[in-house]
């Protein structure tokens, strides 16, 4: 056993209700080392981190921290030891300002009074460390996702930790913000900060970490210097089988029949003069930074938000009909579907059952004068569950909350598929789901396009768009700036179009 480790885990095991989640996990992190932890959803990464953070206790095994036994019972034990967590979902208070968020747990006080100037001075220092040029008095609600992430890091640094644990920190960041985040993290590494970096994005792990550990079904199946693994090998270790390619072969062939047409859509400050056409059997990708108007455009197309000018029409029964003024419920009836960016917020009823979620869109198709035909609905639900390969072990009465991210996303897709949509808008369809589920979603997209649907995919992963789309449209500052055909797909060119004037920080 190494004696110079900062953190050592030996033979940690944990089960819930008799199902093993972690089995004999042994890992170590040396001072100043960066460990990348990768694995599919449900591999046990979160459980491991929860054990480190004192949220749950292991069933067996032991932990060592700076040479002595470490048994955290509460999150504050981990904090006191010098372990800081940056969670996937940010824990900032939008109504408070940056300084208040950082100092929330320990305002510098003199008697009854908060020493505001002291607090602002220290906040400025911390913000300097993470390269964030905003005033300490900025309300957090006014910050972008990337800036919030940096505030989280500043908040963690305020405690002067020895080990920083980052769980999927790039999920909601744009390419440019990721580049900046990595610059900050590298600077911290050079100052001797140890890190555990959890991510689905293997490239990021390879850029940032010196060692990597792969977790599959609760066990470590690969551990070593990052140079020893190729991305293909890592994926193979994670899923336990070789994926020949990350994307299924594209089978569909676009036609000329128009399904959806948007003409000069504008909403001041949101989108500007956006025109778009989606054809039968066609998959269109939308690339662009966060805040480029891509999600907003999708919401306007679907009728969730309004637009001040422009027209939207869809093909229906032999002619194009205008739907600009129709509410969402009517647009669903003419065959539109929207998979939203956030499953948790507006995609699913998390505490409702799988069946309740599945029935809600297409319910009207299974009713006669408002009365549900339950057996017909049930058989359609079962067929669709199979089509999206939803985990067969989950009962229909089980709450959606208990499913993994990939299966939750399949429930969202399945609830729309029950309605047999003609036009699907998918906003970040593979965010936060594991490699296997991603592949299945790509396969479904192609299958739907083969059957005649027109599909719009919004994604931050350019590879994903290149691998699945017939055409890629780039949005910037609310406008469509470029359009690439399949034969002219070029990662660099698309990325440049999305970033354009914004200075490119070398990675």
């Amino acid at each position: 056993m190494q004696t110079n480790s900062l953190l050592e885990l030996s033979q940690i095991s944990k089960g819930f209700f008799g199902i093993p989640v972690l089995e004999q996990v042994t890992l170590s992190v040396a001072p100043g080392q960066s460990l990348g932890l990768v694995g599919e959803n449900g591999a046990g990464k979160s459980t491991l981190m929860n054990i480190l953070g004192g949220n749950i206790q292991p069933d067996s095994g032991s932990m060592n921290w700076t040479g002595s036994a470490y048994r955290p019972h509460w999150p504050r034990d981990a904090e006191a030891a010098g372990i800081a967590f940056i969670h996937q979902e940010l824990n900032l208070f939008p109504n408070l300002n940056v300084a208040e968020n950082i100092f929330l747990a320990d305002f510098p006080c003199r008697g009854f009074w908060i020493r505001r100037l002291e607090m602002f001075r220290r906040t400025k220092e911390l913000l300097g460390q993470v390269g964030l040029a905003v005033s300490p008095q900025t309300p957090v609600v006014n910050l972008t996702a990337g800036e919030k992430q940096l505030v989280e890091i500043a908040k963690a640094l305020h405690r002067q930790p020895k080990l920083l644990i980052l769980d999927e920190p790039t999920t909601s960041l744009s390419e440019r913000e990721i580049v900046h985040l990595f610059k900050v993290l590298r600077a911290l590494q050079q100052q001797g900060m140890a890190m555990i970096y959890i991510s689905h994005v293997l490239q990021h792990v390879q850029q940032l970490c010196s060692t990597v550990a792969v977790l599959r079904d609760g066990s470590i199946v690969g551990h070593g210097p990052v140079e020893h693994f190729s991305p293909g090998q890592l994926v193979a270790l994670m899923v336990g089988r070789e994926l020949e390619q990350h994307f299924p072969r594209i089978e569909h062939q676009p036609t000329d029949r128009l399904l959806l047409r948007a003409e000069a859509l504008s909403q001041p400050g949101v989108i500007e003069n956006v025109s778009l056409a989606v054809h039968e059997h066609e998959v269109i990708g939308i690339a662009g930074l966060m805040g480029s108007g891509r999600t907003e455009m999708a919401r306007i197309l679907f009728g969730l938000d309004s637009c001040s000018s422009g027209r939207v029409s869809v093909y229906r029964a032999g002619e194009m009909i205008e739907i600009t003024k129709l509410p969402v419920s009517k647009r669903v009836q003419v065959g539109m579907a929207l998979l939203t960016e956030s499953r948790r917020d507006d995609g699913l009823c998390m505490s409702a059952s799988i069946d309740e979620n599945l029935g809600v869109v297409a319910g009207a198709r299974f009713t006669v004068r408002g009365v549900l035909n339950k057996s017909l609905l049930r058989s359609s639900i079962n067929r669709t569950r199979e089509a999206v390969r939803l985990t067969p072990t989950a009962s229909g009465r089980q709450a959606v909350r208990t499913l993994s991210g990939g299966n939750q996303q399949k429930v969202v897709l399945a609830k729309w598929l029950l309605n047999e949509p003609r036009i699907l808008i998918l906003d970040e369809p593979t965010r936060g789901i594991d490699v296997g589920a991603k592949f299945e979603i790509y396969r479904l997209i192609d299958e739907l396009a083969c059957k005649g649907a027109g599909i719009i995919i919004i994604s931050s992963e350019i590879e994903e768009l290149i691998g699945t789309c017939d055409r890629i449209i780039v949005m910037r500052k609310g406008e469509i700036t470029n359009s690439f055909d399949r034969s002219h797909f070029d990662r660099e060119a698309i990325l440049n179009a999305a970033l354009h004037s914004i200075e490119q920080v070398p990675a």
């Binding site: 917020d345 507006d346 699913l348 409702a352 869109v361 319910g363 009365v371």
Partner: protein, 318 residues
């Protein structure tokens, strides 16, 4: 196992049985036909209003105006048909016209509540609390705080004969049970209660669904008013003034969630039964009104606590 049981809606029904056995043996007159008759006659109108309340709670709303709707419909219905100068007195169609007028008024007031909540986006609590105050004041001002007596026999018989009250209650609860479990409306009701944003994105007409829930609640309040006015043979501006907590409480005791999405008429019926059994046994022991209030308050508090625990388990310790 324990959590499974706590989650089941039939916990309350079991508690009813246990309570009967525990209390019935030593409270004098509990296990008599007369007491059963009295308990049922008092329980059924409560069940009728609580059924409407269940639907509203399922949208994650609340309807506090129901007792005032009962009061205002009671006095207006009674004024129409009282033989002390009602415009329809001696008219052979007086009873059906009065009953229909009361129901229409209930529906209209429910519609107003629903529009405040769903269209004007007011918090349900404040919208229905203010309409409770307004309607309650209106009923007293309108009648100058006078009770209205001398209602026609045919109208009274709707509410004071166990057979007709039972029939009306079964018809209503049966239809609402069907509505919640077997129709598109019920499906949408749950979705709206669980997550209105996801419901809207899924093409559910969220506002319309919520408005209908309040309309239904207004209707059931008016229907209960028909029964109660007949039972008490009086149109009163303070009719059932003190029963608001019983209505919301019985629904929550049954297991319908204050957080929306979960609810059932059968659960509510068990909640109403338990609350009525407690009420009746304490009355038979001739405890004071205040003691009874304290005990009922404690029971409802426990039920609300249980609901919160259930919700926290469901949402994963938020």
């Amino acid at each position: 196992m324990v959590s499974r049981f706590v989650h089941s809606g039939y916990l309350t029904l079991l508690l009813c049985g246990v309570y009967c056995l525990a209390v019935g043996t030593w409270v004098p007159g509990f296990f008599t036909l007369e007491n059963a008759h009295n308990v049922l006659l008092a329980l059924l109108p409560l069940l009728v209003v609580a059924t409407g309340q269940t639907v509203v709670l399922m949208t994650a709303g609340i309807d506090l105006s129901v007792t005032s709707i009962i009061a205002i419909t009671s006095v207006i219905g009674a004024q129409l048909i009282t033989s002390d100068g009602g415009p329809l007195a001696e008219n052979w169609l007086a009873t059906p016209i009065a009953a229909i007028a009361m129901l229409c008024l209930g529906v209209g007031l429910g519609l107003a509540n629903g529009i405040c909540v769903a269209v004007l986006k007011m918090p349900a609590f404040i919208a229905t609390l203010t309409s409770m105050m307004f309607l309650s004041g209106l009923a007293i001002w309108w009648t100058q705080s006078e009770q209205i007596y001398n209602l026609p026999r045919s109208f009274l018989s709707i509410g004071n004969q166990l057979g007709s009250v039972l029939l009306i209650t079964i018809l209503l609860t049966g239809s609402v049970h069907f509505l919640i479990n077997r129709t598109l409306f019920g499906m949408r009701l749950r979705a709206v209660g669980h997550n209105p944003l996801a419901a809207r994105t899924s093409g559910v007409p969220v506002s319309k669904t919520i408005v209908w829930a309040y309309v239904l609640s207004g209707f059931t309040a008016a229907l209960a008013s028909v029964l109660i006015t007949g039972q008490l043979e009086t149109g009163s501006p303070v009719q059932w003034e003190n029963n608001l907590l019983d209505i919301v409480g019985a629904t929550v005791i049954g297991g319908t969630s204050l957080y929306g999405g979960r609810g059932s008429v059968i659960w509510t019926a068990s909640g109403v039964l338990l609350l009525s059994l407690i009420d009746s046994s304490l009355n038979l022991l001739s405890l004071s009104h205040f003691t009874i209030m304290m005990i009922k308050g404690a029971v409802i508090l426990l039920a609300a606590l249980l609901d919160t625990l259930r919700y926290r388990v469901n949402e994963g310790n938020h």
